[in-house]
């Protein structure tokens, strides 16, 4: 009986070890699979955005520009050339809106000049629309980051800025890129601050936060809220260099 009990204890000890290893392996495979699905979803999302941005810019934008030229030509032949000014203005606004939507969908600056110029351009556009001052600060020497990762960081920045505009009631926002150790993206404002509990509750419902989390996960990054900041909020995203 004693030998049997001892054998059972030994058997369980080894069996449990094997089972734990097998379960960990399974969990790893599952998480890798989920990561791949997420990556594929975001990839297809970006591809679709890019296609849509191209179509808007080249096709609709091009056609609208052609209509604008035609309208100007018609106006010149009219007895009163200024009669079409209101229509021309409306068309100009539409062309500008299409360009804006196209830029928001896929920033050409990001592809041509990289992350920082693209974020600067985004902040400038946001400043004009919202009248809130936004500063972009760069610390350390910027490193070359893979295009896909750069786009994800850009999207995170875009979402964090959107959140700040919508909820913080801030008058100044600062975006910091610290390239010294890992890439730290810090979005800080002087608004009403973040109620962490409320934010966690909202995080379950908000699509924006959901997207941030997905991208952060894919980047192997971490996101944290500086709880010590009293006036306003400070969100820190730490992206490790690969």
């Amino acid at each position: 009986m004693l030998i049997l009990a001892g054998a059972i204890v030994l058997f369980i000890t080894f069996y449990q070890k094997k089972m734990v290893e097998a379960r960990l392996k399974q969990q790893l495979l599952e998480s890798q699979f989920q990561q791949k699905v997420l990556e594929a979803t975001l990839d297809s999302q970006e591809t679709e955005r890019s296609r849509l941005a191209g179509d808007l810019h080249d096709s609709i934008g091009g056609m609208l520009s052609a209509v604008r030229v035609g309208l100007s030509a018609i106006a010149r032949q009219m007895p009163n050339p200024n009669a079409m000014d209101a229509q021309k203005q409306m068309l100009d606004d539409t062309i500008e809106s299409v360009r804006k939507i196209s830029r928001d969908l896929m920033p050409a600056t990001l592809e041509k000049f990289g992350l920082i110029p693209a974020v600067r351009e985004l902040c400038e556009r946001m400043r004009i629309t919202t009248q809130i001052e936004i500063g972009v600060v760069e610390l350390g020497v910027s490193r070359k980051i893979e295009r896909k990762r750069e786009l994800m960081i850009y999207r995170i920045t875009q979402e964090l800025l959107n959140n700040a505009f919508k909820h913080s009631r801030a008058t100044y926002i600062e975006v910091v890129f610290d390239f010294r150790e890992n890439l730290y993206l810090i979005v800080e404002d002087n608004g009403i601050g973040i109620d962490v509990k409320q934010e966690e509750e909202a995080g379950r419902k908000s699509l924006g936060l959901f997207n941030i989390r997905n991208r952060v996960q894919l980047l192997g990054a971490s996101v944290s809220i500086d709880r010590e900041k009293k006036d306003g909020s400070k969100i820190i995203v730490c992206v490790p260099y690969e």
Partner: protein, 222 residues
């Protein structure tokens, strides 16, 4: 083996019960709840050991009554503990039935079958059987649920191992005692002494295991 080894092993067992008992008291109060029933078992064992030492060893009196009452309480208490730990529904209902049956059988054995002054080996054998079975089922549930990565730092692993080994030893000892004392024409005391020396040594080891589990629980590894 002779009586020297028998009494040494008995004293060692007594010391180990005290060690396990004290280890429980080291666990922070808020975290003791999970192990309360094991502590009750230890208290009953300590009481029995003290009465055995004072009454049996020093005063040379028959202290079987206290040992029998302890046996009557130990089985149901530890089964109740296993009932809390094992999540299988079937086990829970079987354990409830076993708790009631063991308790009832304990009273019957104490009063009518073997009597209050004789060692109530029948109920002790039944206790051991139920607890060995529960220990094996607990290990099965442990392998299924995998609540920890490293078993050696999991208090319940040590408690279960101790109970399984301790009651395997008790099962063997009580069966052998019954056979040696009741069935053989000529009393074989040498084998009796050897059996109980082994029983006491295994008992001591199992109390050390329980004490170690409490120390792990104190360190917060559960």
């Amino acid at each position: 083996m002779n009586t020297f080894w028998l009494s040494t092993s008995a004293h060692l067992q007594f010391a180990c019960v005290v060690f396990a008992f004290v280890s429980y008291l080291l666990i922070p109060k808020g975290e003791r709840k999970a192990f309360q029933l094991v502590w009750l078992f230890l208290s009953a064992s300590l009481l029995s050991e003290v009465s055995g030492f004072v009454g049996g060893f020093l005063l040379r009196k028959n202290m079987n009554l206290i040992s029998n009452i302890q046996a009557m309480a130990v089985g149901p208490t530890l089964l109740l503990f296993y009932r809390q730990q094992i999540s299988f529904e079937q086990y829970k209902s079987l354990a409830s039935a076993a708790i009631l049956s063991l308790f009832a059988f304990g009273i019957v054995d104490l009063i009518w079958i073997q009597g209050p002054m004789a060692p109530n080996s029948y109920v002790k054998i039944c206790n051991s059987f139920c607890l060995i079975t529960s220990g094996v089922i607990y290990f099965f549930s442990l392998a299924r649920d995998l609540p920890t990565k490293t078993l050696s730092s999991f208090p319940m692993f040590w408690i279960n191992t101790s109970i399984l080994l301790g009651f395997s030893g008790a099962f063997m000892a009580h069966l052998a005692t019954d056979y040696l004392l009741n069935s053989l024409q000529e009393k074989d005391y040498k084998t009796w002494i050897a059996t109980w020396t082994v029983h006491n040594s295994i008992g001591a080891l199992s109390y050390v295991g329980i004490g170690w589990a409490f120390i792990l629980a104190k360190r917060g590894k559960h």
